[in-house]
């Protein structure tokens, strides 16, 4: 599944970034690398964007960015 579909009470592991160039680098700048654990923490009151917790920091991604991040749900 992609990051935007991840339920809010679950954690996931990033498996792939389906984007290239500057957008991909920015995601990696923000700590989104294959293998990293991530969870959806806060949704903006207007519905978009969403803040994700990655290694203890809160990173904000808009919906179209989250759709390029593939994740696998972690076991509870």
């Amino acid at each position: 599944m992609t990051l935007d579909e991840m339920p809010r009470d679950r954690r996931g592991v990033v498996t792939a970034l389906d984007t290239r160039g500057a957008e991909r680098r920015r995601l990696m700048d923000l700590g989104l690398l294959p293998g990293v654990s991530i969870s959806a923490e806060l949704r903006s009151p207007l519905g978009d964007p969403t803040a994700y917790e990655v290694r203890g920091t809160l990173v904000v991604l808009r919906g179209h960015q989250a759709r390029t991040v593939h994740v696998e749900l972690e076991d509870r």
Partner: protein, 291 residues
């Protein structure tokens, strides 16, 4: 809410502080008259890294919102406003300080995540580090977000060995239950790593000592050599690095330059074309720079 200078009347240029000399990047030539880098003087001046009347030039790098401005203030005694969000400081600030009888010029680079030139800020920081060849690069690192900060440290280490890592916000890390092993980092990075809490003025003396040590040394560690896992890439980097070293003998970071050329970095290509890269071949040691 407020610019780096703090007021309204002095925007957008950073405010000169009480104890620093007020020359800016345009009139720094005199101090270079006797230095080995005379051909590069204009370029240094443009990069804002000419030593001027100072003995050493220290560049301050780091990710956005790591407390870079706080470290800058602690070192220079200036009061650049520090907000709690990324990209607070937009204009470059400069200051000076004296330590152990030597005069240091401190140049604040834009806060960036990397030096891969995806933005104008990254170009500025990259050019300053590569072509400015500061005597010391202080990389301010947020101890609570080490993973996010280390890519920049590694990239800077690939360019130069004259690095001091200021491991800032250790107090906050402690509050959040994080302990960072500075000795381990020092071993891995091959450069001094100084734990500090700049907001509380903790660790500043250690940072100053580390800066002085790196500034004064003749044999700083070589730039970090990253081996690429992809054999084809590794081979290409090695081959091209050999040619870079052949064309510009003495260039200290041939592998990094080769990698950037392989990626087609326009800034580095231009530096090859106009020969700027050749100026790096003359190592600028602190002794030669002293004006």
């Amino acid at each position: 809410m407020r610019g780096p200078g703090g007021g309204t009347e002095d925007l957008p240029t950073p405010r000169p502080g009480p104890s620093q000399d007020t020359h800016d990047s345009h009139d720094a030539a005199p101090g270079c008259a006797s230095c080995a880098l005379s051909t590069g003087g204009a370029r240094l001046a443009r990069l804002g890294l000419a030593p001027g009347r100072h003995d050493h030039v220290v560049a301050l790098a780091g990710n956005p919102n790591t407390g870079k401005s706080t470290v800058f203030n602690a070192l220079t005694g200036l009061r650049q406003h520090v907000g709690n969000w990324s990209g607070k400081t937009v204009a470059r600030a400069e200051g000076g300080f004296t330590y152990g009888g030597a005069r240091y010029r401190l140049v604040d680079l834009p806060g960036t995540y990397s030096l891969l030139s995806t933005s104008a800020d990254e170009d500025v920081a990259r050019d300053a580090l590569l072509f400015g060849q500061p005597d010391v690069v202080v990389v301010v690192v947020d101890a609570t977000r080490l993973e996010r900060n280390l890519p920049l440290v590694l990239q800077i280490r690939q360019i130069t060995g004259r690095v001091v890592v200021a491991l800032n916000l250790v107090d906050e890390a402690r509050r959040h239950g994080l302990t960072v092993d500075a000795r381990h980092l020092t071993r891995e990075l091959g450069v001094p790593v100084v734990p500090m809490a700049a907001r509380r003025n903790e660790g500043i003396p250690d940072l100053l000592a580390a800066i002085a040590q790196v500034a004064g040394t003749e044999d700083a560690p070589a730039p970090l050599r990253l081996v690429h896992k992809d054999p084809a890439l590794e081979e290409a980097v090695t081959e091209l690095a050999g040619r870079v070293a052949g064309r510009f003998p003495g260039v200290p970071n041939a592998r990094w330059v080769a990698l950037r050329l392989l990626e087609g970095d326009p800034g580095i290509e231009a530096a090859v074309r106009d020969g700027t890269l050749g100026e790096l071949a003359t190592p600028a040691t602190p002794v030669e720079r002293a004006g």
